[in-house]
Symmetry: C2
Subunit: 329 residues, 2 copies
């Protein structure tokens, strides 16, 4: 690694530091919590060759590292405040890479109104590893959990499901129905894999109207199992209602549908909403500019989510996506 830690911090990270970071010139930061807020904390680590590809543009790696954390906060009803970055930089990291990485952070700091609070930088012997801890603020007593859903509550998802998975398949050169898409649509999906779209605008809507919520990072079905399990319910999803990316919907290939419903990298929100809150939820989420779709609901009992497709059980080879493990064949 050519540039040393102090010059990296000086040149690339100091300009990103915000309130309480003391210009990254102290050993620790002070995080001021806005009045009436509770502090929500999340941490996600991403690694080269596991969560991103070595050839990915460095600004997108930075954005992904930050956004997977912002997505977690959004799913808990928390608007982002700040983050701490620990970076183990591999031998391939040079000034150009660092400049791109910092530019990606800056862009998202501006867009999502967060600042860098502190962190740690070191040379990693081989793969680059980026560890972010992010801080968010939920109105006092209104943090949203995986638990809290009840039988009779509707299940909604934001955006579309499967875009990240198709983007990864395209980036890996895997053939499939996506080959039929226009080049521009394919580019949108590739970008979506590299740079997810955290539903930050939904945070306050969830805090006000959701009984339970989480971001979908390991596949819709497996994550729905988690939300329903934590809420001591079971879930029913009607697969034909699940919104798929433009150009892929409607997909009447059941194998592909099953794959998209259990693939990773969606970073959309899954939310349970009580019948009394549905109208308010829809109004608020529309105002926030986020498209949501009702895909099913919570029921009594326990056990895995039942996934119906045109009234019949959809056959699933897996329920969740595990990063770093090859796609199930």
């Amino acid at each position: 690694l050519a540039p040393d830690e102090l010059s990296i911090i000086d040149r690339y990270f100091r300009p990103l530091a915000g309130e309480g970071a003391f210009n990254l010139r102290d050993d620790a930061a002070r995080l001021d919590i806005p009045t009436g807020c509770e502090l929500v904390v999340t941490a996600d680590m991403i690694a080269e060759s596991v969560h991103f590809l070595p050839a990915d543009p460095p600004d997108t790696i930075a954005q992904k590292a930050l956004r997977v954390n912002l997505s977690d906060l959004a799913g808990k009803g928390a608007r982002p405040l700040a983050y701490v970055l620990s970076a183990g930089l591999g031998p391939a990291v040079d000034e150009t890479w660092l400049a791109g990485f910092a530019a990606g952070l800056k862009r998202d700091q501006d867009r999502f109104a967060v600042t860098l609070l502190g962190g740690d930088t070191m040379s990693a012997p081989r793969e680059t590893v980026i560890s972010i801890t992010a801080f968010g603020c939920a109105p006092k007593g209104k943090m949203v959990h995986r638990f809290g859903g009840q039988a009779g509550h509707a299940l909604y998802v934001s955006g579309t499901i499967g875009a990240g998975a198709v983007g990864l398949a395209l980036l890996k050169g895997e053939h499939g129905v996506w080959d039929r898409l226009a080049e521009q649509q394919r580019d949108v999906l590739k970008t979506r894999y590299r740079v997810p779209e955290p539903r930050v605008a939904m945070a306050s809507v969830l805090a006000d109207f959701a009984s339970a919520a989480m971001d979908i990072s390991d596949g819709l079905i497996g994550d729905c199992d988690k939300l329903a399990g934590a809420s001591r319910c079971s879930a029913l999803i009607e697969a034909e209602r699940v919104p798929l990316p433009d150009g892929l919907a409607p997909v009447w290939d059941e194998d592909l549908l099953a794959r998209l419903l259990t693939a990773g990298d969606d970073y959309e929100v899954l939310a349970a909403v009580s019948p009394g809150n549905e109208a308010g939820f829809m109004e608020a989420v529309t105002k926030a500019g986020v498209a949501v779709t009702r895909i099913g609901g919570l029921r009594g009992g326990s056990g895995p989510t039942q996934v119906l497709f045109r009234g019949k059980e959809l056959s699933l080879k897996r329920r969740s996506y595990v990063h770093g493990r090859p796609e199930a064949s």
Copy 2:
């Protein structure tokens, strides 16, 4: 990696979770800040072959990862509250390693009154990387900084300087005057490298009496440069006053002395104390059970710390220790 992420969390990390962690069954945690406190945040990442040796016992790796963070908090006058752990686990990590690692965390959680708040676990392709973000609580308005020291303030260090560096030399089989130490003394120094002793008990003393402070992680002299620089002063250290580990003091070998004063892994506290606060500081720190030594003071002007040994400038080949870089020859 044999055990998967969920079973690792279940078996090893869930028992460590505290208040606000929701049993590690949610996507984020809630951190409650005690009344009258300001939240202090620090992050340190340690990596195999850089900050610890592959053969180090896993409980000591866990303790080191946590303690380097607690040491940062202590130097800022903050008592620890909780921490978030992100772990990239290399291929050599198995159930035995994980059990040892968790046992090390548990031991230190009990000793330092902190709990696990959340985190992330993944398989790392090669080296194990442990990233911790730790949270502490300083009395409102009393967080201690590197800045704040003034000309005329005395400089104190806790404990001894150089124990970690000698411990590392012993573990690497490097020969030196430490070969003359009794086996038990050598073992103490090796343990000290692996498991530093964060001065948590000093936190409230620093908050009450220090004008500036920091933990010494990259060598006393270089870190003193940082404190003096941030305080817009210069510093003078009388090297013969610097407390060295038992059996090595007094060292009249100037090369060795220079090496110990600029070696890493001390994790002691360097504090500036105004003349009016020295009596109170000494009384409080004695009550806290931590030995401190006055080694010099802050002066006007700027520039690197002047290091005198018996009245003459001590010759230094470097001022700081950089992890992962070979010892200066």
